[in-house]
Symmetry: C2
Subunit: 343 residues, 2 copies
DNA sequence: TACGTTTCGTTAATCCATTAACGTTAATCC
DNA sequence: GGATTAACGTTAATGGATTAACGAAACGTA
């Protein structure tokens, strides 16, 4: 029924060992003639090697265990997974996927399950940029952290994360270069890498442009959703002097700012320029006017994680620092929500 | 280093065969005393069975090959994957994931790769509801189609899809029950299961309410995006008599209708009720007012596919028709965009 | 006592591929 | 010519589990 190496060998009239050698490119061990015959036989039988058997023997499965906290409810998960999967695939590797729903005991079980299937390494993915404590079960194994890092200071494990600061900086510089001097920042009071770094860039960019920081132009809402953006705009516009631009912590908040502007009869971008962050699929580009924002490189991060992990397993990449923390560029995506200030 | 069954057996002072029997619950073959000893030994060594070896022997991997066309760029992919993965996981199964980017040759290679890893079955997922031609490589294997079907008439393969017609019907009935008599339908001219079924329900619902069909109330835009929804609204409102409600083919189109309403100074839902379809994450609930819509049961479809496939492999479910086409309910999600018509 | 049954554990085959070690034949060297 | 080496294929061990077949001890019964 199902063809094995033995069948191929029989057809090519050699031993199965020779067939194996021939198919795996050990040219020096087998004559060209035999290689040809074996390959023919394999093709004619449509031979597909049993990777379980190979993995059992070689102790390598070319499989990555991809553990994530919540694929279901984040709009970015797909891109991270796709990035990781597509790079892996280009190298002949595959992804074994588990979503732990952020449940620690489930996480431990997931690691066991993947380990039992003898994955060669793990990608541990967070659905938002944060600092994590790496689960016990991953210690001592090949791991790359995706969209998260282990310790604040020294990396103990490879990780790939977005360069929040630089991304926010480029957003601010865009507004400044258009002539804006009074720029608001709508953010969340939740403390995390993203809020902190984006706010820091906001301040630094102002300083760079020699604009004094005005605390009343920064609104800290509860969370990062659209209603929070709306609330933030309300707060900021309570000032005597309105801003001509707002830099939002997230695209969803920018959506709330849009609503606010609409209600107040402010035209975007003529009366108010808005910049978001995330480049959230189906949102940033769907808003009217389309939102200028900073893109989180989810696909690229996934891809990098995959590449790094495979290199790690193959013991390549020995030149680059190990462990390392990789910051990926967050490109500015210019659309239609930014214009020079009025007058 | 790594513990094997042999180590466990040695520690429990039995043969590895007995250890295997003991751990796998063949109670009738082994004395209670020995079972106890073996389990103790396994625990103390933190024994993790090598599933490659087991799979090689038993010809079962408890692994599903999940093939999808485009996980990266659809907001629903995560839910489908999560649904499938979580159910699988609850049964001790895992998902091996490949995204083929809708490339046929890549698809064939993907099937081979999964087959070589000896997956027990395949979930073939489409990112929008459509009729597909099942790839050659899947013929004769255990397959469940997810969000797609094979042939228009008789199912040749198990599949799970949303009940478009019923979902659209409930949306229409909601509008009708609120007293709307002049209801527009903004859709796409692209022909697919979703457009066709939702339009059919639109017509049938009107007929049910004894409202004559008015072709000028249906707008066929290019695609299903926000700008298309806007265009559709423009078309429909070009009528002498404006509709009091619009049923949109997608939430994104509804978003376009919102823009139109805003520009025309129409208040939703007071001047115009709007119902969408999809319940697109981060969109339907983020719009102001929040959009009443019909939810596509992506999570549930994923879960069903997984369950069905596992049953198929385990040769259970033999009572239910085989192959079957499973229609899942699309629940109405009532939010704030529907109200009775003005006077 | 003799013989049939249970009970319970072991031996050995099997799943399929990889690869170190070995053996045979032929070519090469001095 | 005899020894050395190269070329090339085979044998057999190995990876770690499952399970059919077997066998020894214990038990029951006439």
């Amino acid at each position: 029924m199902r063809k094995t190496l033995k069948d191929v060998a029989a057809l090519a009239d050699v031993s199965s060992a020779t067939a194996s050698l021939a198919l795996n490119g050990h040219a020096s061990r087998v004559s060209a003639d035999v290689i040809e015959r074996v390959q023919q036989a394999a093709k004619s039988l449509n031979y597909q090697p049993n990777l379980l058997a190979r993995g059992l023997r070689t102790q390598e499965t070319k499989t990555i265990g991809f553990i994530s906290d919540v694929v279901a409810t984040t709009p970015f998960a797909g891109q991270m997974i796709a990035g990781a999967q597509e790079h892996a695939w280009s190298k002949g590797w595959l992804l074994l996927l588990i979503d732990t729903n952020n449940n620690a005991s489930l996480e431990a079980a997931a690691i066991d399950a993947l380990h039992q299937r003898r994955v060669d390494g793990f990608i541990y993915a967070s659905m938002f940029h944060r600092i994590v404590r790496i689960p016990q079960g991953l210690i001592g194994r090949q791991v790359v952290l995706l969209d998260c890092t282990d310790e604040p200071k020294e990396p103990g494990i490879d990780s790939v994360i977005p360069h929040e600061y630089e991304g926010a900086m480029s957003a601010m510089r865009l507004l400044l270069s258009q002539g804006h001097r009074r720029i608001g920042h709508v953010t969340s009071k939740e403390i995390g890498v993203a809020t902190v770094e984006r706010l820091r860039a906001y301040k630094d960019a102002l300083a760079e442009a020699k604009i004094p920081f005005d605390a009343s132009l920064v609104a800290y809402s509860r969370s990062g959703d659209a209603p929070d953006g709306y609330d933030g705009a309300v707060q900021i516009f309570a000032n005597k002097k309105a801003p001509s631009a707002i830099f939002c912590y997230t695209d969803r908040m920018a959506m709330g700012v849009y609503e606010f502007a609409q209600e107040k009869g402010l035209s975007i971008p003529l009366d108010l320029s808005v910049v978001g962050f995330d480049d959230q699929p189906f949102l940033a580009n769907a808003l009217r006017p389309a939102l200028t924002t900073v893109r989180l490189p989810h696909y690229e991060m996934g891809s990098w994680a995959s590449e790094r992990l495979i290199n790690l397993v193959n013991d390549e990449d020995s030149d680059s620092p190990n462990p390392m923390r990789k910051y990926l560029h967050c490109p500015l995506v210019e659309r239609e929500s930014v214009a020079p200030p009025r007058s």
